[in-house]
């Protein structure tokens, strides 16, 4: 066999180096720090730390506040993923029917993705702040007791909408691409076979979109778990009464506000395990039901 690999011994390493360096600096190093911190306890003045084994994990897992944060996260993630994917799919199927100016609509719908999470949060806060929000005013005037500062469910609703809104554009793009990848003749065959409207969508289009939907499910879950800190921080700050305190938000709160580094590190390790397990679960069980081309 003729060796077609690089004749240069160093070049291949140089070529993969940027990716390796990035991963090491921004993933392996912090992850190892978190692992290290999670088995240490800091003294109140930050002068020394001592090894405590799994004490931090025991403390975290037996803390009712932590279990509460876990429940909040599950509710928040499911709702965010459902709302963002549902609305995106609706918009994508509508955009797929538009013949003229499709690029224009698509460009418009992509904009929210370019908005930073904190800014997205502020946008929704301004609209729905009970003191000054336009929509809050409209809701109240119509007899709806809108007050996310006191009502935990309403606060949850607000952060879900803000978080989902930002992700819709991303999902929309993938759904549009997915829809366009479905051969036109399949839709025509279905229409000759007497399937119309909703029936055609659920029996032909939706199953054929399954790979896209599955991919987005993974991405959106990870997004809801990790990337929504900015939105929650700017809209509710985890309140009222921890009603919107997700796991990530609690990691931040315990570590950087309350300076309980050991507990915070233990929480982030647990979080990492949860997300890895969740993704593995999705690939193991959901993907089986997905049909790839």
């Amino acid at each position: 066999m003729h060796n077609v690999a690089f004749p240069n011994k160093i070049l291949p390493y140089l070529l993969v180096a940027p990716q390796i360096i990035l991963t090491v600096i921004f993933f392996f190093w912090p992850a190892s720090q978190a692992l290290y911190q999670s088995v240490m306890r800091e003294d109140p003045f930050g002068l020394k730390s001592g090894f405590v084994g799994l004490a931090n994990f025991r403390a975290v897992l037996s803390d009712p506040n932590y279990i509460h944060a876990l429940q909040v996260t599950v509710v928040f993630s499911i709702l965010t993923a459902l709302v963002s994917m549902g609305v995106a799919l609706l918009l994508a199927t509508a955009a797929d029917k538009v013949v003229r100016g499709q690029t224009f609509y698509r460009t418009l719908l992509i904009w929210p993705y370019a908005v930073a999470p904190a800014v997205a949060g502020m946008l929704w806060l301004f609209m729905f702040n009970p003191a000054m929000g336009t929509f809050a005013y409209l809701l109240r005037r119509n007899g709806f007791g809108w007050d996310p500062l006191l009502n935990g469910d309403q606060a949850m609703g607000l952060v879900v909408v803000a978080a989902a809104w930002k992700q819709i554009s991303y999902n929309f793009l993938f759904f549009v691409a997915g829809l366009q990848a479905i051969p036109k003749s399949l839709i025509e065959a279905a229409s000759i076979d007497g399937a119309r409207g909703a029936r055609r969508f659920w029996t032909i289009v939706f199953p054929l979109l399954a790979p896209t939907t599955f991919f987005l499910l993974v991405v959106n879950t990870v997004y809801a778990f990790f990337d929504t800190f900015g939105i929650i921080h700017s809209v509710t700050g985890g309140g009222p009464a921890k009603a919107t305190e997700t796991l990530v938000y609690k990691v931040y709160n315990d570590g950087f506000v309350n300076l309980n580094l050991g507990s915070s590190a233990a929480q982030s390790v647990i979080l990492m395990v949860i997300v890895i397990a969740l993704t593995a679960f999705q690939f193991r069980f959901v993907e089986k039901r997905v049909h790839y081309g």
Binding site: P183, E188, T203
Partner: protein, 349 residues
């Protein structure tokens, strides 16, 4: 079971006329083939019958019912697509059942029709497989099966064999013909392959840029092509067309009288033979300088030029001993001469 009537059917895309007024009467149980070069509008016409393209003008009726504004599902037709268009996420059985389920056919009836169709098409062994586990030929059969189980008024075929290899294509061609004859279902079949068209059709429609050039049985079209377009399109290799009636490169027997207004002389390669001095079969005579000889087994095609440079092809039975650069005298009988006027229309004496 139904006839299909097209009355002055037109299709416009913006300012472009794709179909320029086509009228056809397709009898109940007839196998009609639409043939023409790509872009001639044959697929558009088929899709208009299916209801997948809107009709700009004219009227289409199936079984005496005008279908212009009906949905494809309401027209009682079944279509076989070029890429088969099988639902990839369903098994073969589900693919066959889908159209029946949508019409609320009882389950027992669905099962009966599927098993009948599966038997006829020999696809029983892979009813539980997904389309991606099937070969091209098997997918083709499933696509046919999906049309058959519907027991529609008409089958529409959109180049169903063009994704198959040559051997399978011949095999499926025979099978489609056999099935259509046994089911007696009116069929419209679109193809660009004149061989497919000739062998399948009860009647052949040659389309060219949105208009009908000629309608007739395959043999009629072969023996009496109405235009130079049909003459060159039907038959392989194409008919030789000599664009002038007086040339020093060839001669006609003196006792032959040509119809008034003839401008083009056409002779099929298979009607030319090496001249042997028998005056009765030599109404036409010419010398050909051989440029290439194609051996195809049972026969050979000789490509060459007349003395004025006109390209010409003729057929020799068996393996030819003619060599490149030979000068060969060729001849054809009076019956083999096709004459066309300036506009390319057939002239008969």
């Amino acid at each position: 079971m139904a006839n299909i009537v097209l009355n002055d059917v037109r299709k416009k895309y913006g300012n472009i006329d794709a179909i320029k007024g086509i009228s056809l009467d397709i009898a109940d149980g007839e196998f009609l083939v639409l043939v023409g070069p790509s872009g001639c509008g044959k697929s558009t016409l088929l899709r208009m019958i299916a209801g997948l393209e809107s009709i700009t003008g004219g009227e289409i009726s199936i079984g005496g019912r005008v279908v212009n504004t009906l949905e494809p599902s309401e027209r009682d037709i079944a279509m076989v697509f070029q890429n088969y268009a099988l639902y990839p996420h369903m098994t073969v059985r589900q693919n066959l059942a889908y159209g029946l389920k949508n019409r609320n056919t009882p389950q027992a009836e669905i099962d009966r029709r599927i098993s009948d169709a599966a038997k006829a098409l020999e696809i029983e062994t892979f009813l539980e497989r997904k389309p991606r586990q099937l070969s091209g030929g098997q997918r083709q059969r499933v696509a046919m099966g999906r049309a058959i189980v519907r027991e529609p008024a008409a089958f529409l075929f959109d180049e169903p064999l063009s994704n198959l290899d040559a051997k399978l294509r011949v095999q499926m061609r025979v099978e489609i013909k056999r099935l259509q004859k046994s089911l007696q279902t009116t069929s419209v079949y679109v193809t660009h392959d004149q061989m497919e068209a000739m062998t399948l059709a009860d009647r052949l429609v040659v389309l060219n840029s949105g208009v009908i050039e000629q309608v007739g049985t395959p043999i009629e079209l072969y023996e009496k092509p109405a235009t130079t377009f049909v003459a060159t399109f039907i038959g392989s290799p194409s008919m030789n067309l000599l664009p002038s009636l007086s040339s020093s490169a060839w001669s006609l027997a003196p006792d032959i009288n040509l119809p008034q207004g003839s401008a083009t002389l056409g002779i099929r390669p298979e009607d030319l033979h090496v001249a042997d001095g028998d005056g009765a079969t030599e109404a036409f005579r010419a010398d050909v300088k051989v440029a290439a000889v194609e051996l195809v087994g049972a026969e050979s095609y000789v490509h060459g030029h007349l003395t004025d440079g006109q390209p010409i092809i003729f057929r020799v039975a068996g393996r030819s001993r003619i060599l490149m650069d030979d000068i060969v005298p060729v001849a054809a009988s009076r019956q083999a001469l096709h004459l066309f006027d300036e506009a390319g229309r057939r002239k008969d004496a």
